[in-house]
């Protein structure tokens, strides 16, 4: 398996050359990182090049890296930058290999990357989801609407600075005889704190 993946890595670095920002092979998985400007072109080559042939897009996942490796982050402007990335998982049926393609959106306040819907039509809803949950804009997507949250929901709930409890809650108001929104009444709490241990902790 790893011989095959090394061949894939070799193909990738030969084909994309300086457009490769990082290329890693860890634990039997290949990860390719490219700049947002090259993203669309690289994706097209990934699908069409006979030595790559990634016919299928399995997944696009929005990620917010702002608090990566941190447990003490209070002010989210001090976190990692660039914050937002779109991570796609590609599959080639011809060669039977997979690739993870990561692209960071350069601007944190208005994250934009190209849409790959014209290359893989199945990307449509994945991109809508990443837009809905993280606020990543996909340029060239013709129907970028919210998908999972409520109609009229404000904000992007999966961002790290969005609380788990949210900001508003919904209840039926017997006086007004309709459903009303109000600020949340529950206190945020954390049962098990998030802890990052130093390396070799507990391995005496």
């Amino acid at each position: 398996m790893s011989v095959k993946l090394e061949r894939l890595c070799k193909n990738l670095s030969e084909i994309f050359r300086e457009r490769v920002q990082s290329l890693t092979l860890v634990g039997g998985e290949v990860t390719l990182e490219v700049a947002a400007a090259d993203y669309f072109e690289v994706a097209t080559t990934l699908r069409d090049h006979p030595d790559l042939r990634f016919e299928q897009l399995m997944d696009i996942c929005g990620v917010d890296y702002v608090a990566y490796g941190r447990t003490d982050l209070v002010d989210f402007t001090e976190g990692r930058s660039p914050r937002f990335a779109a991570v796609s998982h590609l599959l080639s049926l011809t060669h039977n290999w997979r690739l993870r393609l990561r692209v960071f959106a350069p601007d944190d306040s208005f994250p934009v990357v190209a849409s790959v819907t014209p290359i893989w039509n199945g990307a449509n809803w994945f991109e809508r989801e990443a837009f809905n949950l993280y606020g990543i804009m996909f340029e060239g997507h013709d129907d970028l609407r919210r998908i999972l949250t409520d109609y009229g929901f404000v904000g992007h709930p999966f961002r790290k600075d969005f609380p788990v409890t949210g900001y508003v809650e919904m209840r039926y108001d017997p006086e007004q005889k309709r459903v009303v929104y109000q600020p949340v009444t529950i206190e945020p709490r954390e049962v098990t704190p998030r802890i990052i241990r130093e390396e070799n902790y507990g391995r005496g």
């Binding site: 399995m58 997944d59 991570v87 098990t192 998030r194």
Partner: protein
Amino acid sequence: MAEIKNYTVNFGPQHPATHGVLRLVLELDGEVVVRADPHIGLLHRATEKLMEHRTWVQSLPYMDRMDYTSMFVNEHPFCLAVERLLGIEVPIRGQYIRVMFDEITRIFHHLFNLGTHALDVGAMAMVLYTFREREDICDMLEAVSGARMHGAYYRPGGVYRDLPDSMAKYQVNRFKNEKTVKELNKARDGSLLDFIEAFTERFPGYLDEYETLLTGNRIWKQRLVGVGAVSPERALQLGFSGPMLRGSGIAWDLRKKQPYMVYDKLDFDVPVGTNGDCYDRYLVRMEEMRQSNHIIRQCIDWLRKNPGPVMTDNLKVAPPKREKMKANMEELIHHFKLFSEGIHVPPGEVYAAVEHAKGEFGAYMISDGANKPYRVKLRSVAFQNLAAMDEMARGHMIADVVTIIGTMDIVFGEVDR
């Protein structure tokens, strides 16, 4: 001359044929669908966000609630991903148990799909038969995990416990007399494996009954043949997997192509369709149930002969034995740390996918070394299938929309997450 306008219909979210809470806005020209716009998210629970705030083991039971018609196999990609990040191996007996329950839940899921699909199309009786068999499977799941549906049985490092030696039995009460109880308990005298084996012997006969009811049935064929046809090229473009892809004639099955656990040691075939329509996908699913039955029988044979551990002995991951914990300080500390702080997973990222009953169900995880995942993304199959709704329904009659929803195999726990 009257002005003719397209008509927009709101289908769901409380329509029984939407398999849950799908709201479908259909634009109709007469009875022909011009545009279908699915509105989802009515069951969105933000599972992935919740997982970021739970430890690795606390997150696991959420996986059962993803596709609540095939529970155990949902836990599989989660466990695989954590195991790959930790670099631990599952004992071989644990692997066989996992594969056996993957296949049992595959049957469990296909039975649900078959029953409700037929019910939507108008064959009322099917759901009564398939739920009879699902009841037996519920009993298997209960015997092994304690819960009829949401078992949380697979754990990072193996499975929670070994297969039990006895099955729960029915007792005489106001509603069941001695004769009925004796009949019901017939297969329950031995161990769980005996019970499963008895099921696998009965099951092909049941499948023949379903085939008699449906496969050659004129109404069933009129409703399914040629409806929702997808060409192999489009199926790839739309990101289909599982029976949706195989129905279109592409022989792609992760159990064969990228085997995980012990699938490479088992003998089974992968059925493939030719036309890519609803009827072909139905045939693929029927044959998959027969193949699953065959795999389960092989697992039973192996499990009878080979006792052994089912969970890794790495105490940083798996809880220690109860009796050891009470006598030994080190085990006690491990137990305490494991249940108060949880597993620490080394930094990294991983994508693990399994061949779920619906197709490729994957878990993408990013860990930054904490006791909680940094980000979990679950690649759900039905979400992707439903995205193709517009393309598949366009040009069909409104009644065919129900057939297409049935063949897509959507379960909202998984679509909305």
